[in-house]
């Protein structure tokens, strides 16, 4: 029945380090639909990045089910996960993570480069995010906001069904973050499901729905509320 493009059901994530056991997520139910912009808020260390990584098939849940486009993606092999990420998921990381040896355009092209290239889409995306005059610049020749926009363009080059953004405005001033958020909103209106993890209340001005990942005190249940 689900129109959800990405979905977590009863997801538990535990880390074991020696004797200690740390439960970061203890039964998360969460989903995002196409064209929906959801923010996930919560205190630092509550497990937001962890949840996003599981949703994006970068990490595996200890228990529970991950669905992508309605299909169970919990038990995919490493290769299948990689292909699924390439086909249907876009990532914007907490720290841009651009490749320093590649130009802006080449960075945007990375997800598709090994499967035939994006056929000019990389350049178009850079123009869309207002960096049409910076395509041949290397990351160290770009400002923080420009890097973030390159990272955003990279997350879209594979035309993903869902965009997972970790602190997309974390390092940006007000003006730049406004332009980045406008861009994300526009992407969302084109039918992409967006999950943005943030501390920044401002994102709620752009979102359709906001949830809190609330661990309560220390190492307790992560709970999704509406």
């Amino acid at each position: 029945m689900s129109r959800k493009v990405a979905e977590l059901e009863g997801v538990v994530k535990r880390y074991e380090s020696g004797e200690d056991e740390l439960t970061v997520l203890s039964g998360v139910d969460f989903g995002v639909e196409r064209g929906e912009f959801v923010t996930v808020m919560g205190p630092s260390g509550c497990g937001k990045t962890t949840m996003l990584n599981i949703l994006g098939l970068l990490d595996e849940p200890t228990e529970g089910t991950v669905r992508l486009d309605g299909k169970d993606a919990t038990d995919l092999t490493e290769k299948e996960r990689t292909l699924a990420r390439r086909e249907s998921i876009g990532f914007v990381f907490q720290d841009f993570y651009l490749i320093p040896t590649l130009t802006a355009e080449e960075n945007v092209d990375v997800p598709t480069a090994f499967s035939g290239g994006s056929g000019g889409r990389a350049r178009e995306l850079l123009e869309t995010v207002g960096l049409g005059d910076r395509v041949d610049h290397y990351p160290d020749e770009l400002s923080g906001g420009q890097k973030q926009r390159v990272a955003l363009a990279r997350s879209l080059v594979n035309s993903p069904g869902v965009l997972l953004a970790d602190e997309p405005t974390g390092n940006l001033d007000k003006e730049t973050s406004d332009s980045v958020l406008d861009e994300i909103r526009r992407i969302c209106d084109d039918g992409v499901g967006v999950v943005a993890v943030t501390h920044d209340e401002k994102l709620t001005e752009y979102s359709d729905r906001d949830v809190r990942l609330d661990e309560g005190e220390v190492r307790r249940t992560g709970k999704v509320t509406e």
Binding site: D59, R85, F91, I99
Partner: protein, 384 residues
Amino acid sequence: MTRKLSPAVLMACRNLLRNRIRSALACFGIVIGVIAIASLGILGFTLQAGFMENMGDVANQIEVTPATGGDGMGFGGATDDTLSEREVRDVRQSAVGASVVPVRQDTVDIEYGDMSTTRTAYSVSEPNVLFEAEDGRLPAQMSSGVLVGNTLADTMDANVGSTMTVDGDSYRVVGVLEEVPWTAPVNPNFGIVVPENELRDEEYSSVVVEERSADSAEATAERIDETLNRRDDVVDVQESSDLIENIQEQQRLLTMFLIAVGSISLFVAGVSILNVMLMSTVERREEIGVLRAVGVRRTSVMKVLLTESVLLGIVGGAVGLVLSVGIGAVINHFMLGDAFLVFQPGNVRYLATAMGFAVGISLVSGAYPAWKAANEKPVEALRG
């Protein structure tokens, strides 16, 4: 990304250029390794080629000499240090079709100009079978005059047409011989060749048989041995090709040894590539994590990293190759008198081996770091 270059090659090149000094040093190790293998190989091959150039034309000769050692008490056969007429006849019968040249030899006193010396004189019926003339002519049948060995002629400054006194008798110098390789059965470089029956010693010291080829020489040598030594060891049969093969075998071993020594330096170069690749993948842990996170497959990541290490091998190998050809040209110039002989197939084989080894070892060295980096979980790499 640039259409012309595959993304793996593009990324590999950029990564190598990021730390130029480190890449250059890793290449340098390969350069040295390739030079070591290629130039030692070329040196060995050139030694062999130089040897064959001098010795090759006696490979079809057989020397039959009186048997040494063995049953000294035996009756019958002439187990002294000469060969009888009958034995020479037997050799002739066993070597039909080949040139059979019985040789006598004796020590003589030579006077020439104001020099006098004691040397070995050989007398052979057909000197033109065994020797070549550097100066003058070689008679098919020698009836008068003497031929002077190459080294002796140099020492005495002997010329064709002058007169030489041998054991008190005067002879005309009719020819100066070309240098004879030391593997030849009869070696008059330091002596002279006189007409038949001019020596006091009437007995033959040896018989030289010249066959058409080294192969038929082997068969003939066997036949002589079977015929003459049927009952008793009367003669020793020595093929020049045996001696030559022995020496060649030793030279081959020497070459192999030289190459093995050279290979050690390539192994060291391989270790340095391994080290460089390990360092660089650790430094780029996050970058590689990002590649994996955005959907670049493990095999593609490995391709990038292997391309990097192989590029180190190829570049280092190519530079090493160019330098090796230069070194080989110098070796060939001085040892064989022709620098271009470095492009002989035998040398090219060593150049190719060195290059192949360089690329191979860089591939092997890159494999572990590439595999390790590609298989790291992207979440862990990104968490730092």
